[in-house]
């Protein structure tokens, strides 16, 4: 069992960090080029040269292309209407149609914005050519406002930088919640709890004995994970490592107390496992790991206020990636301390040496 506890988090970190990606790669598209002009060929070439798009097939039959989309052979259809080049060079509106498979909304959004920026690029180039050619003042004035975004804290928009701190939190939470959730109920199942209950052991001593070993394992796993994040994934460590460790220590107590509470409320390990899973899934989905909390509906955002995992993920990202200090995170830390104290007291109280 012990090796599993240490190997599992490392594997989890490695696999999830690479797999849970939002980056767009190799989007297959179909091209309906009705224009067959120099510009339309340029457009297709531009899409392919980005490395994100891959020309899967060309056709003149719209229905055929739609079939491919239905079958999942392509995720994007680019339709260039006839007279595209002519319209463009004469300063008229020259539309291009994109049909995107939006079953996965976030991928569709990405395809759209990538495509838009490629088309913008092309547009700008053509405008420039046009301007030079004609020197028509009306066309020269048709300048667009160009946004050049600068991404702070994660300049390359590297998803690994974003995911790894969050995944670390999930992994520590799993260890905390599951190990302590199984704990007391297991002793109850095998009967060893009875021998303990006839001893003069104090309830808090018992609980500390239950918390401490898994707390140490959790902290150790976190350290391994942080080392991997720093030296394996080259995640920037802008903030203070000690801050992270202190918060992690508090967070582990919160999550373990919750586990112990589950353990005192259930009669079998199966029940405990089931409840722990349920809570874990809610914590992860409402934790801001995959989807930003800010874009959740109001009621869901309110639920995340009671989610310790959400706080810790936020703190991790703030401290590691933005270099946040105590000032910025203190309210969240106090909230965690509050949660931990309540949960710990309730679970100590729930554990009864004498049954009623």
């Amino acid at each position: 069992m012990l090796p599993i506890l240490f190997v599992m988090p490392v594997i989890q970190l490695l696999v999830l960090s690479f797999a849970a990606t939002y980056e767009l790669k190799e989007v297959d598209f179909a091209l309906l080029d009705m224009d067959q002009s120099r510009v339309s060929r340029e457009l297709a070439a531009k899409f392919q040269s980005t490395g994100y798009f891959n020309l899967q097939a060309e056709t003149f039959d719209r229905n055929k292309a739609m079939e491919w989309l239905d079958a999942g052979r392509v995720s994007l259809i680019i339709i260039v209407p006839p007279d595209f080049e002519e319209d463009l060079t004469n300063g008229r509106e020259a539309p291009v149609q994109l049909i995107i498979d939006a079953v996965d909304g976030s991928t569709a959004g990405l395809i759209q914005s990538y495509s838009a920026s490629i088309l913008n690029d092309l547009n700008a180039e053509k405008q420039l050519e046009l301007k030079i050619k004609s020197a028509d003042p009306a066309v020269v004035q048709a300048k667009t406002i160009n946004l050049i975004p600068q991404n702070w804290y994660n300049p390359d928009l590297d998803y690994i930088t974003f995911m790894v701190p969050g995944i670390l939190v999930v992994l520590v939470s799993m260890i905390g919640l599951f190990l302590s959730g199984m704990n007391i109920v297991r002793e109850q199942e095998i009967g060893t709890i009875e021998q303990l209950n006839v001893t003069p052991i104090r309830k808090y001593q018992f609980m500390v004995g239950k918390l401490l070993p898994f707390w140490i394992i959790g902290m150790f796993d976190l350290l391994v994970g942080l080392a991997l994040a720093r030296y394996g994934f080259h995640i920037p460590f802008l903030g203070n490592l000690a801050t992270i460790l202190v918060v992690a220590g508090i967070f582990l107590v919160v999550i373990q107390s919750l586990g112990l509470l589950i353990s005192t409320m259930t009669n079998t390990q199966q029940q405990a496992m089931f409840i722990a899973w349920f809570i874990m899934v809610v914590f992860i989905l409402l934790g801001g790991l995959f989807t930003p909390i800010e874009s959740m509906p109001g009621w869901a955002q309110n639920i995340t206020l009671a989610n310790p995992v959400a706080y810790f993920i936020k703190i991790m990202r703030m401290v590691l990636l933005k270099g946040a200090g105590w000032q910025e995170i203190q309210v969240m830390v106090y909230t965690l301390i509050g949660m931990g104290s309540v949960l710990l007291m309730v679970s100590i109280n729930r554990y009864k040496k004498t049954t009623g």
Partner: protein, 247 residues
């Protein structure tokens, strides 16, 4: 300090409508070996759990070594040892580690504990397997280890719930020798058993039927009053009157 180790009066425990222990009253004198007999489901274990502070009584009163079971359960726990019907030490620790663990819980200091571990292991002749996981030991040996842990902290009273269940006759005999030794040291022994020959070894016995104590006295007294030649026959006479099914 009273002369009585255990004193109960109309002690009752109900589980919903079911009365597991029905108004039992008895005293156990200090230093005595008190046998607690009864068919399966008669209420022995429930009664014992109330006396060891594992279960709250529904009504009635009881004191164990002078402490009240309702209000001073934790004081009682300092003064008693307990050996459960089901083996309840840690299977994944060695014999030695189990003793260390419980020694620590009972607050025995480290320098007192290490000679004590040797002494305890020798006294139940488990010295040779002290480094072995308890899981790998035969049942009889596990029971001996459980017994020695129950008396590790020199309790005033030791509660043994079917200590010899499933144990071979030789080990059973050794067990009773240990029980006598403990009793000689002045420790009160409260023991439940299914073996009627063992009942004869007790100073006094009580027989529970359907949650009540139907007979109480020395083995000889009981044999006389039920005009039987053995405790077994006394037991069978009483147990036949039981209305609760076996188990």
């Amino acid at each position: 300090m009273s002369e009585l180790a255990i004193q109960t009066e109309n002690l009752t425990r109900k589980f919903g409508e079911f009365t597991a222990v029905d108004n039992i009253s008895f005293d156990v004198k200090q230093g005595e070996i008190f046998g607690f007999l009864g068919a399966n489901g008669a209420g022995k274990t429930t009664a014992m759990k109330m006396l060891t502070g594992l279960l709250n009584p529904t009504s009635g009163s009881a004191t164990v070594s002078g402490s009240d079971v309702y209000t001073q359960a934790e004081t009682i726990k300092k003064n008693i040892g307990y050996m459960s019907q089901k083996f309840s030490l840690y299977d994944d620790l060695t014999a030695e580690e189990n003793i260390q663990f419980y020694g620590g819980i009972y607050g025995i200091s480290d320098q007192d504990l290490s000679p004590k571990i040797d002494e305890v292991l020798e006294s139940v002749s488990l010295g040779s397997v002290r480094k072995q996981l308890v899981r790998s030991l035969p049942l009889g040996w596990k029971q001996k280890l459980a017994f020695s842990i129950a008396i590790l902290h020199q309790p005033k009273i030791v509660f043994l719930d079917e200590p010899t269940g499933g144990v071979d006759p030789v080990t059973r005999r050794q067990f009773w020798e240990k029980i006598y030794q403990v009793s000689d040291r002045g420790i009160t022994v409260f023991v439940t058993t299914h073996y009627m020959d063992e009942a004869e070894y007790c100073d006094r016995i009580s027989i529970m039927v359907d949650g009540r104590i139907d007979a109480l006295g020395t083995p000889d007294e009981l044999k006389e009053s039920f005009s039987s030649d053995s405790i077994e026959n006394v037991f069978i006479k009483l147990a036949r009157s039981a209305t609760r099914g076996d188990g």
